[in-house]
């Protein structure tokens, strides 16, 4: 029962704010928006405390959703340790961001619509993480994509916002088409989409099929979690309101791909080289996005590329079979990246929407708390101990190193390490350009109101102390909690970890991060525009990946569409149809002379016909 309540609460908020929100006072709209999510958070805590969650999992089957032939899927919810963690992250971070939004969106005329969309998102995300089978997960998966579309294009009267939303939806759809095919493949071979049945069946499935299925599912994950090659929508998604970027495009929705792999890890473990692909994609994406973040001028887009990069880390963790570490990083990342976005939002709020870092600067003075929050988030992102990011990233890199020693590619670890360095550089750059130096824009920046400050404070605390969830000194409570879920996978790695070797390996990332911070400090101390020459041009064009897509896919597709619509359709197919018509018409013209209009001619013709018939009858 409690599971239904968790999902139903934000859904109710959506219905109320969506249908009647325009007629309600703002205070009530905000209260409904936040209250339902807060209540869902409380319900999630309650549910997570249920002993069934720690055991086999809490299930709630609502009704039979689809039934055709032998194939049956029920609409059901399910909560085990993994989804409990996700539900807590979603509702917890979600609640904080809802509260923040009350302040951030206070002046927006479409206040109710905003909260309705946000509530719908939380409900969809909860459906995604609490879905009892793969198809329900897919429903949530697509619905969060819808919410993302709606919220990116929230200010739909801006052409760019509308286009970005559409781009996000379509790119996600490309991934989802793969995801759907993966589901079809699994449904056809396993005959069922219940998670436990799939896990049980995965051992007996042909490895080739399983590899294909998991790769298809991973294609969906690259779309939703903005990995190469489908990352292109996430930077543009920054057109949406900043709290949305924090919630959807940093903390929760984009991590759905990671969650999906964790959820289906038995399949991925049995599926040949899929995990290697995942690791490689994660590593490349992490490095690629970090380098692009290095030259980006838009503060929010820096954070967007940073998100892509950090998601790359998570996939890297999944790929090297350090799944608990991936989930750990997912959690800490949700804290510190949400914090960074909210701080950036606070800056935008103060600067009336300016996000270009060349026009920012010197904000540390008037916006002390925001700057402090950004600094905490930045240090966590850079992986400086004892901030949260350090523990999770460190664990991932350790895992990558061990994976390499067990026969994996060392390049993955090296890429992770290089990314750590670049990350430290770009986060320092963003910090310096935004908050240090003289004020670049003569305005009257003001500190954010309390309703925005408080959520940031809570997130700052979590970004600072969240590492304890996975810190060895604290007994790794989160990892221990997840262990039973991953019992047949990464736990082996986790347990047999040779402690001594860890020394150097742990120290190296920290050193690299600190070096990065120092480098960033040295480079951007006096707000110089570091161009980096040809390399900089390469990076600021995002490695020319989108240019390539435009040239190879988008433009030819448009040309093809116009060719088909304007030539093949009108002149070819319809031309043939009209040609037949014209032919008949011309034949009619040819014989129309027979129709003289003289009745006597017609009568003569009738008589002639009669004669012929009579003659035939007589002389046959």
């Amino acid at each position: 029962m409690v599971l239904e309540v968790i999902v139903a609460l934000p859904l109710a908020g959506w219905l109320i704010n969506g249908l009647a929100g325009g007629r309600l006072p703002r205070g009530v709209v905000g209260a409904i928006g936040c209250g339902t999510v807060g209540a869902a958070c409380a319900a999630s805590v309650m549910a997570a405390g249920d002993p069934a969650v720690a055991g086999g999992g809490l299930t709630a089957t609502l009704f039979t959703w689809l039934s055709a032939g032998e194939f049956t899927v029920s609409a059901g919810l399910f909560m085990d340790r993994l989804s409990a963690l996700m539900a807590l992250v979603v509702t917890g971070v979600g609640f904080l961001i809802h509260v923040y939004s009350i302040g951030y969106m206070a002046d927006d005329p479409a206040y109710a619509r905003y909260f309705a969309y946000l509530n719908l998102f939380v409900a969809s995300m909860l459906l995604l993480v609490l879905g009892g089978n793969l198809l329900v997960l897919f429903v949530g998966w697509e619905l969060v994509g819808l919410c993302s579309y709606l919220l990116i294009g929230f200010w739909f009267d801006r052409e760019r916002a509308a286009s970005s939303g559409r781009k996000a939806f379509i790119v996600n759809r490309i991934g989802d088409a793969g995801f759907l095919l993966g589901i079809l493949l699994l449904a056809t071979t396993a005959g069922n989409l219940q998670f436990d049945r799939l896990a049980a069946a995965s051992g007996g499935m042909a490895p080739g099929l399983l590899t294909a299925a998991t790769l298809l599912l991973f294609a969906g994950a690259t779309g939703k979690s903005a990995q190469l090659p489908l990352y292109v929508w996430l930077p543009d998604a920054m057109e949406g309101p900043t709290p949305v970027s924090a919630l959807i495009h940093a903390a929760t929705m984009v991590t759905a791909g990671v969650y999906m792999i964790a959820r289906l890890h038995p399949l991925f473990l049995h599926a040949g080289y899929t995990l290697s692909v995942v690791a490689a994609v994660g590593a490349v994406t992490a490095f690629f996005a970090a380098t692009v973040a290095l030259v980006e001028w838009d503060l929010k887009r820096v954070l967007a590329y940073s998100t892509i990069s950090q998601l790359g880390y998570m996939f890297l963790a999944m790929g090297v079979v350090m799944m608990p570490a991936g989930m750990f990083h997912l959690t800490t990342h949700a804290f510190f990246k949400a914090l960074l976005f909210l701080a950036a939002g606070s800056v935008m709020h103060a600067m009336r929407g300016v996000v270009d870092m060349r026009r920012l600067g010197g904000l540390a003075g008037p916006m002390r708390w925001t700057a402090a929050g950004f600094a905490v988030g930045g240090l966590a992102l850079a992986g400086v101990p004892p901030f949260a990011g350090f523990f999770s990233k460190d664990l991932i890199l350790e895992g990558a190193f061990e994976w390499a020693q067990r026969g994996g590619a060392m390049l993955v670890w090296i890429a992770g390490l290089a990314t750590a360095f670049v990350t430290a550089v770009y986060v320092t750059r963003a910090m310096m350009l935004t908050f240090a130096g003289p004020a670049a824009d003569p305005g009257h920046p003001h500190e954010a109101p309390a309703v925005m400050g408080l959520p940031m404070a809570v997130l700052a605390a979590l970004s600072f102390g969240g590492g304890l969830l996975g810190a060895r000194v604290a007994g790794e409570p989160l990892l221990r909690y997840l262990e039973p879920f991953f019992v047949d996978s990464a736990i082996g790695v986790l347990k047999d970890r040779p402690m001594p070797a860890a020394g150097v390996i742990t120290a190296l990332p920290v050193a690299v991060s600190l070096a990065g911070i120092l480098a960033g400090f040295a480079l951007y101390r006096d707000r110089r525009e570091v161009t980096l020459g040809a390399l900089g041009r390469f990076l600021s064009h995002q490695w020319y990946i989108e240019t390539l897509y435009d040239a190879v896919i988008v433009t030819p597709a448009k040309r093809l569409a116009h060719l088909l619509a304007d030539v093949v359709e009108t002149r070819g197919i319809d031309g043939a149809v009209n040609g037949v018509g014209a032919l008949v018409g011309r034949a009619g013209l040819a014989v129309r002379g027979l129709q003289t209009g003289f009745v006597r001619n017609y009568a003569a013709a009738i008589l002639a016909g009669t004669i012929l018939m009579l003659g035939y009858w007589l002389f046959r």
Binding site: R592, Q595, G597, V599, R600, A603, L607
Partner: protein
């Protein structure tokens, strides 16, 4: 029946052909109408002749219905004729050729 059936039929055929000739040759709509009446009467004659030969009263009934229809036809036809005459000032059927292709 001392007059042979063939005689009646031959008379009928002659009258019918006179009618067709009239329809084909004459341009005066009124005369064309009369020629049509001539053809109808020729047919009626065959009906009656066969009715007599086969002693089937249905033949005569057919004539009855032909007469009814002919009466209607003449009434409507002459009305059309007058309507045409009123608008086009002619009874020459060659002048009425709206259906020319």
């Amino acid at each position: 029946m001392s007059v042979p059936l063939e005689a009646y039929l031959a008379l009928s055929a002659l009258l019918f052909v006179l009618g067709t000739t009239g329809v084909l040759v004459r341009r005066n709509a009124l005369v064309v109408f009369m020629s049509i009446e001539l053809m109808l009467n020729a047919v009626n004659l065959t009906f009656v002749a066969f009715a007599r030969q086969r002693l089937a009263i249905e033949g005569q009934l057919a004539v009855f219905f032909v007469v009814v229809v002919a009466a209607v036809e003449v009434v409507v036809g002459l009305a059309i004729l007058i309507a045409i005459f009123r608008t086009r000032d002619t009874v020459d059927i060659d002048d009425v050729d709206l259906l020319r292709g």
